[in-house]
């Protein structure tokens, strides 16, 4: 099937790959900022997976109301205080990690998928296909993406899935440009010509021969985009178009808490800090990964 069919060749390919990984991991460790980023991201994933079973007041996640404990300042019982419904803010912030990570990953994956398809077709076919697809992508880049996402989200109606779709729709042009450039660079290479000569179809060449070779810049861009995707989801929540309560989304928590400033500042402070920390963690990690995986950026 593939070129490295003989056992020897396959073993040496695996060894080379392992060595590459080890070298990359070493370079990654050299920068303590990347390690901090990795730690934050791991923490977020732990909160997202195990959070709801770790928090002190799990009933609050589903929208439980407790009027006896409204607006209590941070204390041992309520680390981040309580909000206008008497819910524990710490519980809501931890539960929000799942929403933010899920939507961030979904936006980036959908955007990368759509952009990769468009960019691969444009780059591989060239000519008119390329002209039309890329002009649309260029135009899309000149439009204000936040306003577009807001308009689409409002038209689709509130909810997590609609928010994700709305943001992903404005997210693909960056990937399309990136993939197009990489495909154009790769399609003249010898191994692609060989595949063509052997009669492989376009779909097979793109999937089996070109895409595996351009995956690392796509991953770098995805990791750099994660923070920004989380930020955009929170922005829509903050404006009141995205995820609606009782879903504990950080942006919408902040938007409600805004009405209770300055007296009950803790209801705003901790969801806001959570957004900042999540975005910061992914940005640090993304920067570190880029330095490792993208040789051009390494200095």
């Amino acid at each position: 099937m593939s070129a490295s069919a003989t056992p020897d060749a396959r073993a040496s390919a695996v060894a080379a790959r392992r060595q590459n990984w080890r070298r990359a991991a070493y370079r990654f460790q050299q920068s303590w900022l990347s390690i901090v980023g990795l730690a934050i991201v791991v923490l977020l994933f732990v909160a997202a997976v195990a959070g709801p079973s770790l928090v002190p007041y799990p009933a609050d996640i589903a929208g439980g109301i407790n009027t006896a404990t409204r607006f209590e300042a941070p204390s041992i019982a309520h680390l981040f205080g309580t909000n206008e419904l008497g819910q524990d803010v710490f519980t809501l912030v931890i539960a929000g990690a799942r929403i933010s990570l899920l939507s961030g990953v979904a936006v980036v994956v959908l955007g990368a998928l759509a952009g990769t398809i468009v960019g691969a077709l444009a780059g591989y076919y060239g000519g008119w296909t390329d002209e039309i697809l890329m002009r649309i992508a260029d135009l899309k880049l000149t439009l204000p993406s936040l306003i577009l996402a807001m308009a689409v989200a409002a038209a689709l109606g509130a909810g997590l899935v609609n928010t994700i779709i709305a943001i992903a729709l404005t997210w693909w042009p960056g990937y399309a440009r990136l993939v197009r450039g990489e495909v154009i660079a790769k399609k003249e290479e010898l191994f692609v010509q060989v595949a063509q000569a052997l009669g492989a179809g376009t779909g097979r060449i793109l999937r089996r021969h070109i895409l595996p070779n351009i995956v690392s810049p796509i991953i770098v861009k995805m990791s750099l985009d994660m923070g920004f995707a989380i930020l955009t989801v929170a922005s829509l929540g903050f404006i009141g178009i995205g995820v609606k309560p009782p879903t504990p989304e950080w942006g919408s928590l902040l938007s409600i808490a805004r009405n209770y400033m300055p007296d009950y500042w803790w209801t705003a402070m901790f969801p806001g800090l959570a957004i900042f920390l999540a975005v910061f963690g992914f940005n640090l990690l993304g920067d570190g990964l880029r330095d490792v995986l993208d040789p051009r950026a390494r200095r």
Partner: protein
């Protein structure tokens, strides 16, 4: 240079036509029926149909686009389905506020960001570099609506130094309209008190807006300066014994600036749409707040108007950047 400029300007026409087509397509493809919404919950089928006819929404799509496009050229940008006010009038009223915010934020970002990036590159891997890298990455990660709330909480609510929001106190008369920028208009009118008031209202929103372009410009400037510092001509200058100061300010700065210029152009356009959040937090009466209100009520025409305005401004700013690029770098002109 003139031929280069003319060609770039002519190339704008298809871009703007494409923009209007794309915006029209997006607006029409979206689900949701603004006419039914605007007619109210008790409207009969006939009333809804009347309203649709009034706004021309009962005609085939190509006809609708033709009306839209000819309207754009003749200055009829449609009207809000709710307030019935012409969109172009509204845009004229709200755009200066957004532009003032964005221009002030960009100037701050450039004035601080370029020296900061240069410094970080020259002191690479020493403390000025680490500080600027961590701070700028932190600034990029800071949600500007949260930053805005923090500024409001600290400087407006707790300390009471600056106003909480808005652009000018309702109890006072704003300076007469000249440019639409309240800071410039008040100076023009020779009114230092109004200038101080306008500046106080501008301070927090401008700071919240400028932080992320500031961080991006710093990072970009650092990266390009590092690249330029490795060029052979810098080595030659060092070998010739030129002082560090002369090399940095005369040769490195100019070459590093030209790539940063592109980022500045892109960011300017991006900020025009990105002020939505800051305008919401500070109740700043710009096109972002206007668009947000229209979006929530699914009012098509204002949203299309704002999107097109920002798109055209984006293209125009990048044209200016291209032309500046041509002035700075003769190679670009003759491509």
């Amino acid at each position: 240079m003139l031929r280069f400029a003319v060609r770039r300007i002519v190339l704008l026409v298809p871009v703007i036509v494409g923009l209007s087509l794309l915006i029209f397509a997006i607006a029409r493809l979206l689900p949701g029926d603004p006419v039914t919404l605007a007619a109210g919950p008790n409207a009969t089928q006939a009333e809804i149909a009347d309203l649709a006819r009034e706004f021309g929404l009962d005609q085939p799509l190509p006809v609708q686009y033709w009306h839209y496009a000819t309207g754009l050229v003749t200055g009829d940008w449609g009207q809000s389905i709710f307030t019935r006010r012409p969109v172009l009038e509204d845009l004229k009223a709200y755009l200066p506020a957004t532009l003032e915010l964005v221009v002030v934020a960009m100037v701050l970002a450039i004035v601080i960001g370029i020296p900061a990036g240069l410094l970080a590159a020259v002191y690479r891997d020493r403390w000025p570099d680490y500080v600027s890298r961590v701070v700028s990455l932190g600034a990029i990660s800071m949600p500007r609506f949260f930053l805005g709330l923090l500024l409001q909480l600290g400087l407006a609510m707790w300390l009471g130094w600056l106003p909480l929001g808005g652009r000018f106190p309702l109890t006072e008369d704003p300076p007469p309209f000249v440019t639409g920028f309240l800071t410039i208009d008040s100076l023009w009118a020779g009114d230092p008190h109004a200038f101080g008031v306008a500046l106080a209202y501008l301070a927090l929103p401008a700071f919240a807006t400028c932080l992320s372009p500031l961080a991006t410009i710093t990072r970009m400037m650092r990266a390009t300066t590092l690249e330029v510092l490795q060029q052979d001509y810098v080595l030659t200058e060092r070998a010739l014994g030129l002082s560090q100061r002369l090399i940095i300010f005369k040769y490195v700065l100019k070459n590093a600036m030209s790539s940063t210029l592109t980022v500045i152009g892109l960011y300017f356009g991006w900020l025009l749409g990105g002020t939505v959040l800051v305008e919401t937090v500070f109740d700043w009466p710009g096109i972002g707040l206007y668009a947000t209100k229209a979006i929530v009520t699914q009012d098509f025409m204002p949203v299309m108007g704002v999107t097109l305005t920002i798109g055209v401004l984006f293209v125009a700013v990048n044209l200016v950047v291209d032309l500046l690029y041509g002035l700075l770098n003769p190679k670009v002109r003759y491509e």
